[in-house]
């Protein structure tokens, strides 16, 4: 497939600050590519580098097969939809939309006709002679989109275009943008910090952190197969348990494989993880337990211990019930410390009895939510194979 945007080893520095580090990515023709990351991760700078507002200190920018690294924004065939829309306040809606074609030297009648078509595309045909100041946020958004589409760009760049809108409107506009993208087949690079937005829109997602592109893939891949602890924490909404490797040797079930034993003091459990990675005793390891893999049920007929942990026999002896030889499930007990009603779902905070008493968060949709209230005793269990493990450098530890 044809590549419309190619960044090759791009680095952008602002004095001491490195905004983008050695970033390479390619956007294919006709796809909607989301750059996703927290604020300050360099995603907007990356977009501005493609548009030509920033010039990279090293690296190349290639648009549609043409190297444009040193070209000014007006000489590049891309168009940007800005976060604050940047509509020209002294021009009417149609003058705004026709602006790009005016700069390209298209005659007045022709560019107005084209602008009218683009206004119809974004369902704003009735607002030709309105001034931007008289429009609502959603309407301004549509005009900004039409104005950028009107120059028929090789690639459309969108810089958090919906972040100034309320949630409902944002969701409507997401679907409309996706619809327009599919109809016109214009490749788009869409910058957002909202993972739900990225999942809704993107054909592929590039997750950025600290100026680096951490992972690129379709939404399912980056969600189901995160390569890195950051990606997991940014997308997974997960519970993180920190642990430490306390031993290594042969896997108990399959002695041909290597495995490491990891202690998780937060829940007071030791488990064996089969892995070929070179983890040695003393290494830090983080486990990500996603809420959806956790089984949550009320403890059958157990008398509640006192809230502050009952008998104080020392944490070392309060071992969790893990039987790696017979099953690969982790089973824990705890007490509900908080129940948060979130509309369509309910989130339970559970204090684990064992270890240092880590707090885990489990979310259930209202229809299948167990009837629990604060102080109730619960049992938690999960398949240890469904847990993601990340090594000391944040990289995924694979089996």
């Amino acid at each position: 497939m044809r590549t419309v945007v190619e960044l090759d080893g791009v680095r952008v520095e602002y004095g001491e600050l490195v905004a983008v580090r050695d970033l390479s990515l390619s956007v294919r023709d006709g796809e909607l590519f989301c750059l996703l990351g927290p604020s300050g991760c360099g995603k907007t700078t990356t977009l501005r580098t493609i548009a030509g507002f920033e010039s990279p200190d090293t690296g190349q920018v290639v648009l549609d097969g043409r190297t444009v690294t040193s070209l000014a924004p007006y000489a590049r065939d891309c168009a940007t939809v800005f976060q604050d829309w940047a509509l020209f306040p002294n021009k009417t809606v149609i003058e705004n939309v026709a602006f790009g074609q005016k700069m390209a030297g298209v005659g007045k009648a022709k560019r107005r006709d084209q602008a009218r078509d683009h206004l119809k595309t974004v369902e704003m045909g009735d607002y030709e002679d309105t001034r931007p100041a008289e429009l609502s946020g959603g309407q301004k958004q549509r005009i900004a989109l039409a104005r950028a589409l009107a120059v028929d760009p090789d690639v459309l760049l969108l810089d958090e275009p919906l972040s100034n809108l309320d949630k409902r409107l944002r969701e409507t506009m997401q679907l409309e943008i996706k619809d327009i993208q599919e109809r016109l087949n214009t490749p788009m690079v869409y910058v957002t910090h909202d993972q739900e937005e990225a999942f809704t829109l993107a054909d592929r997602i590039g997750v950025m952190n600290n100026g680096r592109l951490m992972q690129v893939g379709d939404p399912e891949t980056v969600y189901d197969d995160p390569v890195d602890e950051f990606v997991e924490s940014f997308l997974g909404n997960s519970n993180f348990l920190s642990g430490r490797v306390v031993g290594s040797g042969a896997d108990r079930r399959d002695t041909a494989r290597r495995a490491v034993t990891v202690e998780f003091p937060g829940v007071g459990a030791q488990i064996q993880i089969a892995t070929e990675s070179g983890l040695t005793p003393g290494d830090d390891l983080t486990a990500s337990v996603r809420p959806e893999i956790v089984e949550l049920s009320p403890s059958p007929g157990e008398t509640p211990t006192s809230p502050d942990g009952g008998t104080q026999e020392g944490t070392a002896e309060r071992r969790a019930d893990v039987e790696p030889d017979t099953t690969n499930r982790m089973a824990l007990t705890g007490a509900v410390s908080d129940v948060v009603y979130r509309g369509s779902s309910i989130r339970y905070q559970v204090d684990i009895d064992t270890g240092e008493g880590a707090e885990l968060s489990v979310e259930r949709s209202v229809t299948r939510a167990p009837d629990l209230s604060t102080g109730d005793r619960v049992q938690l269990s999960w398949d240890t194979a469904a847990v993601y493990y990340f090594g000391p450098d944040g990289a995924r530890v694979r089996a």
């Binding site: 007006y74 020209f88 026709a98 602006f99």
Partner: protein
Amino acid sequence: MSDVDTAGGMRRVRSVLQAASGGISRTKLLLVPLLLFDLLVFVAPMGYLLRISLAERSVGGGALQRGTWSLDGYQYLSDSSVVTTVFTWTMLFAVVATLLAVGIGTLYAYAAWRASGATRTVLLAGVVMSMFTTLVVKVFAARVMLSPEGVVNDTLLAAGVLDSSLLLVNNEIGVLIGQLYVVLPYTVLAVYSVLTGLDESLVEAANDLGATPVRAVREVVLPHAVPGMAVGGVIAFAWSAGAFAAPLLLGSTSERTVAVEVQSLLGQFNYPAAAALAVVLTTVVLVVLTLGIVLLRRRGGLRDV
């Protein structure tokens, strides 16, 4: 007891005021002090000036004959070819100075707006600092710098740009430079103040849609700057039409402005003619400015597609 009296008094004052205002709203009443001030410092002196311009010239001694009515002052103006020449030159000078002031001032303000950090501070400080000195000192400094042995000529000669000294004083160039030196800070600040309200991303958006930097200025920056340019233009025009110090110190006898001529008429004890010339100048400036503002408002800036 006194409290009751005060309250009653207040009520009475208010009712009297309301009766006097004939139901005019309170907001309008707030304008009264302002109007009184205006009357005192503007309308009264102008009325007095108008009155003098309509008095008879005194023949022997004294500036005018009190209590007399005559159009002699205006008659003198229309008869004198010198006055006509001076008036024409002043208007031409004011228009050229205004155009240059607005043009250079807008460029300067745009440069200051695009600059950042220390550069912007230096550019703006340069403008504001020049306003710390009085008019005469400023114009005299300009004379020293522009004179044949002054800094400007010396530098240009030393740099090899010139073969011989340029005459920059005692001619219209000197007057123009001096006058620009006086009015430019005001046009720069007037334009800069409206540019601060312009979103920089608009310029980026224009560039992004294919506008070269020059076209982006034409399409986005200038339309936004128009109100500031208009205010700067009004200041520059009013001040240049009434220019006195710059033509006197940097010009010769052929660069006489109306203000200089008024002074010379006063020296000849022709008060009615001097007042008449002042009245005519004020009227012309007011008419020109009113026309300009009406025109600008009707066009609504530099809009088009």
